[in-house]
Point group: C2
Chain length 433, copies 2
């Protein structure tokens, strides 16, 4: 085997063997295969693709390049969820404790904000004391004893993915389905889940803008997981408007707390419970949708889901006092953004709204930026709602008046009000398994 | 402009602008664009291609990355030839002085052996004292005063090509038509010719094995040159057997000396004179094939071509004594390889014969190998010739008996003798302009 021949093989559209992928990645990690050879291979993979089996091998090799967690029996109890990312997507915060309250074990390694999308870790870190840097032992023990943990990747997890991702970012090889699958799955499976539910976001606030591209990604994720012998399914869910009522770190945690106490935005409820149903079925806890929904409603209604969230936060060192016993801290300037006319809310420029929140300080443009947890937007109207002139559309939580002015000016372009009634988007667009 | 976007553009099959190529290459040479980004772009070019105009820009940018030579008027007098390489291809040694004797100015920067093919510089260096490392000034002055010079690339010529070629070699991006065109042409035009005649070798001893692939390369070389405003044409010539009677460094110089004195192998004569005709026409010295052939025959017959060779060798410090006044030095063991049967010579494994000569010491496997000038093969029969049992097919010039035994054993497989008469291959397969 030699690196030049392996690159040529993929360049010519041929299927690599497990041994060839393993050889290439292990020598790359040792420094014997150079960055410029890896980037040539990545571009060849980008342009020539990889089949499910190949991508599965790539995933396993990246996965086992670092430490991995193994849980005991019954293995199918351990189920995680992965979202491809959107605006206002606080589902993980609610879903993990909710299904854990039903008996699922949720080992959730989560990430930070990427591009225009928020990050679960950034949100959780607005809870005073909450640690997202658990050791692998703390992580495992939390999953076993609490039932769910949401923490960040440790450096020991999938180092091959980290090294390869850094190269992809500077060589225009990010948007490759096999490379995306390998990157997502190697990190996810390193944390030890047996099953995985994908929330593939779809719409103008998602990375996949159309049902077609989202379906393609979902089919590939599922195909690779099946090739790896894993139990998975995927829901394509709407991302043509921010999910729930809020976008912005502390605002989203507050919304999640409210949801776990039973006060859900309807779209957030629907997306979360459908994903929860899939997790319960994968875990073997519920036989079908009806029994799963019934169990979930019980555990939400009797406060078990909320108490599981409290337990998880306490385990990870967090203090929920500001969310429970007092008002959450507020951004310095709160401004109402109102409609100029009577009509209907017809649409959001959702990705632009995500970028707006990043610009406000709610996300990072470079890795070293510090997030402002307080800034964000509260949406009072959603697509299809009637709107009256002078009625509030969005509450802007901003750092100062200048920022509030700027945000208001930009929101005029990002929220479309018109005279024709528009239907609310279908929330669950597809289920694939 | 940024490197990641330029890579993405080519990755998506779009045409780069001159400015984008220039930006990318100049930052690469400064070290601001990294090897791994260049190799990703090279793989994208390999897989997505470049049109003639784009390849022309790439060529010019590589060309002007270093020093270039400019000759005076009339510019069209300056014409060079480029061969894609074969076995026994000593055409340059004969062609350059022959056309120079007719008035063409030949600024020929030549290369060393590559893979299974011999190198013009390696051959010329068997002439005692011959310098292939002329400075650019010596090179220019030789072209002006002698009429032809054959020397090696200086480090100042096309440094971008050198840096890029080193990467292509280790990233499986060598066999890309636009990259091959850019590399060949940037080096050739740096030496200042206005016109260029391509000898695109075609057959089992060439890089291009079929007329189709050779035609594709020829069309691309011509298309790029036209886009650059250069006068060019191409001949597709046969490389299904070694050209002429010899392969091996000193043997080929001796054959060239004989040819310049009028003793030509028929195939070598035909290929050389057809290329010479094209050069004379491009230079504006002859109007058509008939007048060109007549002039060439005169200059060969009256000794002018030979004297031009003597002048060039003398200018470059060489001494032709061993070729003129005595026997050339011979390899220690000379062995006759004979036919076992009566029949016809039906074919050669020409590339394998090229590799055999490299293995004998006549070429390099690594850059640091030292060439043995004396080893080689003299072919007494060519395709289509009748052969009798016991008749000599090849004279093996080898280092020792063990090597001679080994070569003889391998030649049995590489030369096919059969009962059916076979036609000699068509020498000039196509002319393109």
């Amino acid at each position: 085997m030699n690196p030049v021949e392996i690159i040529a093989k993929k360049r010519d559209g041929k299927k690599l063997t497990r041994d060839e992928i393993s050889y290439f990645i292990s020598l790359f990690l040792k420094g014997d295969i150079k960055d410029y050879q890896m980037s040539a291979l990545l571009m060849a993979i980008f342009l020539k693709g990889m089949d499910y089996e190949e991508t599965g091998w790539l995933t396993e090799i990246m996965l086992y390049s670092g430490e991995t967690i193994s849980f005991g029996e019954p293995r199918n109890l351990y189920v995680d969820k992965h979202s491809t990312g959107g605006v206002g997507d606080k589902v993980s915060l609610i879903l993990a404790p909710w299904v854990a309250a039903c008996g699922v074990k949720v080992p959730m390694l989560s990430g930070r904000g990427l591009g225009h999308t928020g990050g679960t870790l950034d949100k959780l870190e607005t809870i005073p004391g909450y640690r997202t840097n658990l050791s692998l032992n703390e992580f495992m023990s939390g999953v076993e004893n609490v039932g769910c943990v949401i923490s960040g990747q440790t450096p020991e997890i999938a180092p091959a993915d980290k090294a390869i991702y850094a190269l992809r970012d500077v060589t225009s090889t990010v948007e490759s389905i096999p490379l995306i699958c390998g990157s997502i799955l190697s990190k996810k499976f390193a944390a030890g889940p047996n099953g995985l539910v994908f929330d593939v976001k779809c719409g103008n606030g998602a990375f996949m803008k159309t049902v077609e591209t989202a379906t393609e990604l979902a089919i590939n994720l599922i195909g690779v997981c099946k090739a790896m012998g894993r139990d998975v399914c995927a829901l394509l869910t709407d991302m043509n408007q921010p999910l729930g009522y809020t976008a912005g770190n502390i605002l989203e945690v507050k919304e999640s707390v409210d949801a776990l106490k039973g006060n859900f935005a309807p779209d957030l409820y629907r997306v979360t419970i459908e994903l929860a149903v899939e997790m319960l079925i994968l875990a073997g806890i519920s036989k079908n949708r009806e029994t799963a929904v019934s169990l979930l409603e019980t555990k939400l209604g009797d406060g078990s889901a909320w108490r599981k969230f409290e337990d998880m936060v306490a385990y990870q060192g967090g203090n929920l006092g500001i969310f429970e016993y007092s008002e959450i801290p507020k951004a310095p300037v709160i401004r109402q953004f109102k409609s100029e006319i009577d009509g209907f809310l017809q649409g959001f420029e959702t990705e632009a709204i995500g970028r707006l929140i990043v610009d406000m300080g709610g996300g990072r443009k470079t890795k070293d930026d510090i997030i402002d947890p307080l800034v964000g937007l509260i949406f009072h109207k959603k697509i299809g709602d009637t709107v009256k002139a002078g009625e509030m559309l969005v509450e802007i939580h901003s750092r100062n008046n200048t920022q509030a002015d700027d945000v208001a000016l930009r929101l005029i372009k990002f929220i479309k009000i018109g005279l024709d009634k528009v239907e609310a988007p279908t929330l669950i667009k597809k289920r694939l398994s």
